[in-house]
């Protein structure tokens, strides 16, 4: 799906929709409402009711945003990065920017993103962000500040590409999505002078670029860069080379900047890039991000069931933490950190290295460990997506209508009685175990099956007749992940933030 004439339907060519998407302010159409919502959440977080289930700042991000992300990624693509409110001041930041250098080379990879995801999930659990409108409002502010500062200081969109944990999550799981940016005709890109998809078409002074010269030596085709132009790809993707949704924020700046109308937002078979050779760079950071993120999903869900408290008590007791006279919250932080560090980093990394080593031994191939892990990593996307989808789906289904009385109450608290004087709190809905169980079953079994199919196709490509030997160790890890998450979801979920150590 790259460097050839586009084979799949192109959404940018759909009447009305395509025009809106390609419009200079097309992204703004999505970003403005999201920004207003973000500002509303900050406002309610600081001034609204302190109970999480009655405050927009907690219900919208922790219930609806996370659920809608899964739906959007599954049905379309990285729509939430497209509408990201945190990058709305991007143009302003760029104009105020120091025109500085690149993001430090040391961090131009996914290690920082892995660390940020880890800390977000850990802090989420330790400080019970889901129960605090006030803290959630601060998190939103931190995102705005972080995005603006990094946009202003560095030449590329370092926040999106290397830092943002939400964006990283979306990047990884948008690889299952049915939409992807691609070039309509690779030949046009080969002869393109300005590479505007990458470099942008914005210039402080008008600049005329010559696309073609006639036989008389005079330009026959030109285009102009000026202040009406748009920035190029913030995450530095060059459209004809895009083979994956990784790092694509779906901002469509490439499509707006391209003077040849040669960028397509194509519909593709969902997840097709996962089995395509060379769609992903074979890098440790990228591969471990994908694998660790699947394990983070398990650990995150594990934090919601009763056995986690027994485990934490046992760790605290064995380490002698309970006899030190420390506050329970401090002990909880230390123990949670250990649980998260082991479960979502140490365990997946050691299993990955071990599995790669075993695979190399039994297949007797010359692939390096990095090449093996880099090739196999996409197989962890479907199961990871299934795990997160099952977890976020639980909250989403449970609290889907719950936002209605919260909005109603917010209006009443501000003197707006348009919808009556009594919010219908019954809309909050109690968990429908049958529906939730069914959704979780579909997500987990679909994810596990998808992972096995991807693994089988990758192993066949890498090992040919030794396919079974090449995939067996990884299949066992995937099976263990699946059984683990099934075991977790077989417990009743507890919305518990406090733990009191003996």
């Amino acid at each position: 799906m790259n460097a050839k004439a586009v084979e799949y339907p192109d959404l940018l060519r759909v009447p009305v929709l395509g025009r809106v998407l390609r419009w200079k302010y097309g992204r703004l159409v999505f970003q403005l409402p999201m920004t207003l919502i973000a500002l509303l959440l900050i406002y309610d977080g600081f001034t609204g009711r302190p109970i999480a289930s009655q405050n927009l700042a907690t219900i919208a991000p922790w219930v609806h945003y996370r659920g809608l992300i899964i739906v959007a990624l599954l049905l379309a693509g990285n729509l939430f990065c497209m509408g990201c409110p945190f990058t709305l001041p991007r143009t302003l930041a760029k104009r105020l920017s120091l025109r500085g250098g690149r993001f430090p080379r040391l961090f131009r990879n996914k290690w920082l993103a892995i660390g940020n995801l880890f800390f977000l999930f850990f802090l989420y659990e330790w400080f019970d962000l889901w129960s605090s409108p006030w803290l959630t409002a601060w998190v939103i502010i931190a995102y705005f500040v972080g995005a603006f500062v990094l946009e202003a200081v560095f030449s590329e969109s370092a926040f999106c590409k290397y830092v943002c944990p939400l964006g990283t999550f979306n990047f990884v799981y948008s690889t299952v999505s049915p939409l992807q940016i691609t070039a309509r005709d690779g030949d046009i890109c080969r002869t393109c002078v300005g590479k505007e998809c990458l470099n942008g078409s914005y210039a402080t002074q008008p600049v005329i670029l010559i696309d073609a010269i006639g036989v008389d030596g005079q330009p026959t085709q030109t285009h102009t860069h000026d202040q009406n132009g748009v920035l190029g790809c913030g995450t530095e993707l060059f459209v004809p080379q895009i083979k994956s949704n990784l790092d694509c924020t779906l901002c469509l700046d490439c499509a707006r900047a391209c003077p040849h109308q040669n960028v397509a937002l194509a519909i593709r078979p969902p997840g097709s890039e996962l089995v395509r050779e060379n769609a992903w760079a074979k890098r440790w950071d990228l591969a471990l991000l994908v694998i660790c993120l699947a394990f983070m999903g398990v650990v995150n869900a594990f934090g919601m069931i009763p056995p986690v408290y027994a485990l934490m008590q046992s760790i605290a007791t064995s380490l002698g933490l309970t006899g030190l006279g420390w506050e329970d919250h401090t002990i909880e932080g230390i123990v949670l950190f250990l649980v998260f560090a082991i479960g979502s980093l140490a365990l997946p990394i050691s299993l990955t290295l071990g599995a790669a080593w075993i695979t190399r031994q039994i297949t007797r191939t010359k692939l390096s460990l990095r090449e093996i892990v880099g090739n196999i990593a996409p197989a962890f996307v479907p199961i990871g997506f299934g795990i997160w989808g099952a977890h976020y789906g639980f909250h989403f289904i449970t609290g889907f209508f719950g936002i209605i009385p919260v909005v109603h109450q917010f209006l009443l608290d501000h003197g707006i009685t348009l919808f009556g004087l009594t919010p219908d709190w019954a809309l909050g809905g109690s968990p429908n175990e049958t529906v939730i169980g069914l959704v979780q079953l579909v997500m987990i079994s679909g994810g596990a099956l998808g992972s096995l199919i991807v693994l089988q196709r990758i192993a066949r490509r890498l090992y040919g007749r030794r396919m079974v030997e090449g995939m067996i160790t990884w299949a066992l890890i995937l099976l263990a992940l699946t059984l683990m998450i099934v075991w977790i979801f077989s417990y009743p979920m507890e919305m518990r933030g406090s733990i009191l150590f003996d």
């Binding site: 109970i51 289930s53 889901w130 408290y309 719950g402 979920m493 009191l500």
Partner: protein, 124 residues
Amino acid sequence: MNKSILLLALLLTLVACRQTAAPNNPNVVIRVTPDHLTVGITALIVEVSDADGTAIPDARIEVRGDMNHAGMQPVFGDAQPGDQPGEYRVPFEWTMGGDWIVTITVILPDDTRTEQSFEFVVES
């Protein structure tokens, strides 16, 4: 281990559940029967007295329970007079395990309203 956490939580809850009243606000004390906090139907016993400790028998009591995680349906309870003056019995269902915040609204005969919140940990 879970039982010991539960017991400790309950003890702390009972201690913590007596809230100091402002000069014009009633004292509100909340007890739970049975005292085993698990998912299911229970009864909250709400005791209301004035600043001098005199029972207030004719108050209206509204009870609302919220989980501390957003997105869960709140539970409401209707208070009925209890066995003693100033005591109110509220049938109440813990619908899910986890941290709960129970908000008691006391409406005095002169329509003065006061609200106090209490935290509970409920096992699944």
